[in-house]
Each structure stands twice: as structure tokens, then as C-alpha cells.
Symmetry: C2
Subunit: 456 residues, 2 copies
Amino acid sequence: MSEILNAIKANQQRFLDELFDLLRIPSVSADTKFADDVKKAAEFVAQKLKEAGADKVELCSTPGFPIVYGEKIIDEKLPTVLVYGHYDVQPADPYELWDSPPFEPVVKDGKIFARGSADDKGQMYMHVKAFEILMKQNSLPCNIKFMIEGEEEVGSENLENFVKANLEKLKSDVVLISDTSMISNEEPSITTGLRGLSYLEVEITGPNRDLHSGVYGGAVANPINILCDMISKLHDEKRKITIPGFYEDVETVSAEERAEMAKAPFNQAEYNADLGIKKELGEDGFTTLERVSIRPTLDVNGIWGGYIGQGAKTVLPSKAYAKISMRLVPNQSSEKITKLFTEYFLKAAPEYVQVKVTPMHGGEAAVTPTNSIAYQAAAKAIEATYGKAPIPLRTGGSIPIVTMFEKVLGTKSVLLGFGLDSDSIHSPNEHYGVWNYFKGIETIPYFLKYFTEMSK
Amino acid sequence: MSEILNAIKANQQRFLDELFDLLRIPSVSADTKFADDVKKAAEFVAQKLKEAGADKVELCSTPGFPIVYGEKIIDEKLPTVLVYGHYDVQPADPYELWDSPPFEPVVKDGKIFARGSADDKGQMYMHVKAFEILMKQNSLPCNIKFMIEGEEEVGSENLENFVKANLEKLKSDVVLISDTSMISNEEPSITTGLRGLSYLEVEITGPNRDLHSGVYGGAVANPINILCDMISKLHDEKRKITIPGFYEDVETVSAEERAEMAKAPFNQAEYNADLGIKKELGEDGFTTLERVSIRPTLDVNGIWGGYIGQGAKTVLPSKAYAKISMRLVPNQSSEKITKLFTEYFLKAAPEYVQVKVTPMHGGEAAVTPTNSIAYQAAAKAIEATYGKAPIPLRTGGSIPIVTMFEKVLGTKSVLLGFGLDSDSIHSPNEHYGVWNYFKGIETIPYFLKYFTEMSK
């Protein structure tokens, strides 16, 4: 399909410019002050889908941000691929750690630096451009539908209801998602497992007002100290999570499967060097790759309380807060884990303080089968453009909607991601390789072709 | 001395208005963005001292904020009282918890609400107004010197060098300080013991950049979790501080002294109800009053790390921070404790992270003798205006400069404070009773009179 490569070459600058326009819109769904920008990003995607040749393009309103829909049905008898992606991005805080402003994309060392460049604007937009090329060349091999949402980074709260209400409209043979990463550009891989998520905020209240630590310190429980105690007790010495029942539903992965996983190229020393750490830390009895894939985990994503400004303030604060998330593995229920955490944390609270737990969002873990037509087509597409068969890999991130699609739509997903773990998604200086962007645009048409052929 | 009361009545509104003008200046010494305001407050105090009749008023420059000096020497043979106070204030954060803006003083329920109203502008300014009255009535009974600094809330870093360089100028028979509180307006007390302080900031670094908690969570030490572990280990089950050697120099208070202390009126149930807590927490084997006076303590004054904005961000942060302070008792050395903490914390750090400890400021504990002329004069002055002898009381706050004055100047201090513990100093909605402000102005002349008479 050299005509695809030729089209990419001919449109290279425009394809980049358009992505940059999208990246310039600070569509942070978590922060209400960016609400207008989130909507602007939705309109941008809708407009580009229209220009590329999609029919029935619309902004489907939800109680939150709209879902962009568009489709091209060329023949009812051909298979239908539903492309899912998201146009919203993570907050860019802390801004001061970015080398260039997060919403002013620049290319440095062959990488596009901007919030959302990899997660997921850059990866989602590859599908719009691949579609545009196929439409222009009149070579779209199957039906295609687009469902691009704006609330992925805040838990896709309105997606399930939308899907339930539009079963016929979204009917498809596979959901195609580019929102994951590969081992490296030289070692392509396809994500076959994703961890689930339970994300909560906890609030500890000690005295009813901020106190002077000299006058009251030592006589009144300090909510920060208590919060630290409580967080510390969430792990034992072996870094196992202490919440009763937490591991109850965890699927035991067989020794054979673990042996298979261990074949993935991985070098602990290089991993540590890349992160600037002397030693890794994780659950006893598991390797790093296992810890981030087949094992559930718990991390504090944020903590705050008391005086955090410049200088010193001798305050014994009234409140302390933390954001805590747990990554879950297949068979663990996000709802159940959220309940177990809440019960445990409330019960663990000493009587000196009051504790409030607020569930933020969650999602189930998912495993995609490697023997499906969709997986096989994806593997073949990657082999065609990377010159090498991909490794199937379970990874640590969560895309809760994969499980939901299967449950509600009855459709399996394939996770054809082109990013790298080193892209710093959710971090300052998020970036996405220019090479990866165009490689994605090149590979997607192969997937559509092979999936159509293999579905016959 | 009914003429004092008459003068207060005649000038009541002006005395309040002037204090309000001073409170409107946001002289936050901890935050460089308020540097100009801190200087403005110094100029205000100097101007008012001049207007009241002080000689040799000057802003003595230091590497930090200036020290306001002024004096009135009426007779070399009479005793000299050195009034110490400070015109800087604590940061007002968090602003959103104030019912009225911290730098727009208002009177509500007989209390002046503003940052610095009690600590220490309101209490310091009583001396300026008492002095003004005595000058106008030509009844100043002794020599008086004023030394009002602008760095008390950041550790009085430049005060010691200033005192050392001005021994002759500051020569005096007692240092008079109003920067403490009483049990209540009905139960007057004088602070005879103050705790020392060691204040540090700790920084924990895990990976060299913020990571996606889904991709790396469970395999890499999270600096927030590690910081919580380390903070949690600073106390044992009996709420004793675990730093080796921490209690080594703590003075043992005799059973008799403890029995004497236990006579101070105190009701644990009322204390808890006032603070809105179900149960108090402190070191095993000591009462609440003992915990805040004769025992050293450790509190986290601030903690932060990761994402602390609205919504959810699944970040495994590179860094986590805490501000930690220890209150010390007589005989403990602030420098030694700072060293012990630093050594312990660095040693306690697991190899998964890097730890940095930055000492912020410190000061020694102090006990003032109750058998001194100064204490006796203060007690008599309070009895004259409150109609009740004050209870001598050791309290929890720190005024590190008391020890320094004794060491460098060779002069003892008397802590004639008119605030209340419930004034919320260092907290949102700091306030100072209008009654207390005028009671202080009324009492100070009695102290000067009795101290002069008893010194003969």
C-alpha cells in the first residue's frame, strides 16, 4: 500500500499542523475552568471528521461533555469497525515543570511536546487522518464509525448511558482503540490486558479549626500525622495491600503464563537508570513486569494539608487530604474494591479524627484474547509496517470502557496503541514521537484491510 | 490610676483606628511578595513611637527586615524596661477559610478579626499607646526602650546579631514582652515557661519525573507513600517520638511541680468540645496541660505532593514534601534536636528514594522564674486591673528570643500577654478582644510603676 505512504508524505506538514491546532486547545476535563475549551475540542474533531468524509457527524450531548459521532457505511454486508478515542486531556499541573508550555506544542528531537500529544489527541487523530486518506483514495475496505468522547480522564461517566441508548447506532464488529503504548519502536507490542481502577479522595478532620502547633501540639491529634499513619498501614512490610478481602478475587496467573510473560525483553538496571532510582519497590514475590500487569496496586496520587507555602508556619491544621487510587486486575470488581477500601478506611480511623471517603471514579480490568480475528489482524498490520511481529503484553494502565463495551455493546476491543511508556503521559513534558504519529496513520489502514479480509 | 482609664476612654476610637491601620498592612515576613508591606509596617511603628514621644527613633537595618528602635530615658538612675514585640505576621493562608479578609480588620462580638490582631500587632501596639498616655500625663515612672522586630514569624534570624552589636544601647533591667496568652479573661495567668522549636522541611524524591500510576504504580516507590511511612514511624504506639536521643536532655519535672501544675483549672471535656474532637491524643502518661508545656512534641505543619487540584489525576509523583516542627522543653538544644532529626530521617530513608532535610528555624525553650522582681511586679499589675492574682503557667508556644536575651543581653524577660488561646493565632479568623486590647493598655502602666518601685 505504497499509496498510503505517498499520501502521508504529501500531507505531512498539514497532518502535523492540524494536530497542533487540536493540542493548542486546553481541553482539561477535570477542571471546570476549561469547560469551554473541552467543548471547543469536540467541535474541532467533529469538523475534521466531516472534512475527511464522515457522514452523520454530530456532537451527541450528555450531562457532561459531548461525544463526537461520525460514520461511513459503505456496505451493510462488510464488517464495521468502531473507533473509540478521547479529545479531553489530563490537567497539566505542575506547569512549572514543563520545559515548554503544555498547550503550545513544539517539536524537539523528533517528538511533539504538549499535553495530550500521546494521550490521546495524537493517537486519536491518526484515525481521522487515516480515514481521510482512505476516503480520498476511495479505498476504505469496511464500514467505520467514530465515537470520540471528552470525559475519559474523569472516568467516562456518561459514556455507558450513551452506549446503552445507542446500541443500534454503535453496532460494530470490533472496537479499535489507540490509547496505549508499545515496548519500543524497535520492539512493537500490543496491549492485551489492562488494569482496572478505583480512585478515591479521603479527608481527615481533626480539630474544628486550624490551631497553633505550639499551643495545642502534642495534646490534639494532628490530621496530617494521622493521615500518614493510615496511609502507611495500607501496605505491609512485603508491600502487600492490607485491606481485608483486597486480593480475594485476584485471578491466579499460571506458572506457564508467567514464564511466557518473562520472555518480554526487560532490563531492571536500565529501567531503574531511566527513572533515576537506585532500587525498585513492589509487592514481594513478583517481578516488575508482573507488578505492573497481573497484580493490583495502591498509590497515593496526591496529598495535601496544613501550610504548603513559602517559609514556616506553625499550624496544626484542621484537615488533611489525599487522593488514592488502586489499579485492579481481571476479576476484581472496581465497585467492590471501592467499598472495601471505604469500609476499611472508615474503620481504621482512630476516634481522634473524622474521616470522609469520596469515590471519584473507577473501572474494571480487561483482558483481550489473542486468538480473536481483531487481534490477529492488528498483529499482522503491525508486522506489515514495523517488519516485526508484535509481543502481546499486559500493561498497568486502565481503560475502564473496554469492559463496558464488551458488557453493553457485546463487542470486543483491540488496543492498537503507538505510544511509548516514556511519553510521560499524565506528567510534565508529555510527548509523542512524530515518527509514531505517522507510523500509526500508516498502520491503521492495514488493520482495516486485514480485519475485513479475515472476517470474511 | 484612674487618669489612665480616663485617657483610654477619651482616646478609645483613635487607639482602635490606629491599630486597624497597622493591621491593614499585610506584613507577612515569610513570603517575599509582601516585602514592601513588611517595611511599611516598620515605618508605621516608628512614626507612632515618635508621635508618642520616643527619642532616637530609627529603623535599624539588618540583612532582613529592619528593627524599630526608640527610647525615653528620663533618669539614668531609674530602672530601664526594654519592650520587645514584632510587627510581622504569619501568612494568612488559607484565605478562603476566613470569614472576613485577613487584612481588612473588623470588630465582631467584641473581637478584632485580622491577621496579627493578637500575634503580635495588637499586643505590641498596647505598649505604644500606654507609653503615649504616660508621656502625655508626664508620669512615665522609669526609662523605656522599644525594640520591635519584623522577623519573629520567620525565626528572628537577624535579631541576635543586632543585639550583640548593640549591647549598650539595649542595656535594661527587664525585657517586657506581650506575645502570649492567658487562661481566660476571668482567670488571668502569666506564662512562665515556653517551649523551644526546631522547624524543618523534608523532600522525598522517588523517580526523576512524574509517572503514570497505571504504567509504573506498584513497581516503583511512590514518594508520597514513603513519606507517609517515614512520618508515621516518627511516633510509636504510645505517641512517643522515636528519634534516638530525642528525650535525652528533657528535664524531669518533679511530682510536686506536676501536682502544682495540676491545680490550674482545666476541663478536658470542655477543651474537646471547643475543638470539636471526640478524644484527645498525646504522649502516654501525661495530661493535656503537661503535653503542651513540659513535654516535647512533633507535628507535621504541612504536607504536599502529587496532584492536589480538582478531580482525579493518576500520577505517581517524583517528589513529596512536608514541613515538620518539634516543640522543645528546657534543657533540650534546638540545634542538637535538628541534628538528631536530620540524621535519623536520612538514615530512615529507604534506598528507593532520596531524602533532603532543610532546617528552617529554631529556638530554645525558656522558663522564667516566679521569684523575680519582674514577675512579682507583673503579678501585682494584673491583680490591680483584673482584681485577681494571676496563675503562673508554662505554655506550649515558643519565643526563642527569650533565651537569647538572657544569654546575650544578660536580661530576663517577663511575659505579660493579654491574648487568649482561642484567639486563633496562626489560623484563619485570628482575633483579639477589644476588651483585652484596652486591658493591656491599662495594665502596662501598673507594671512599669510596680517594677520601678520594687527595684528600689
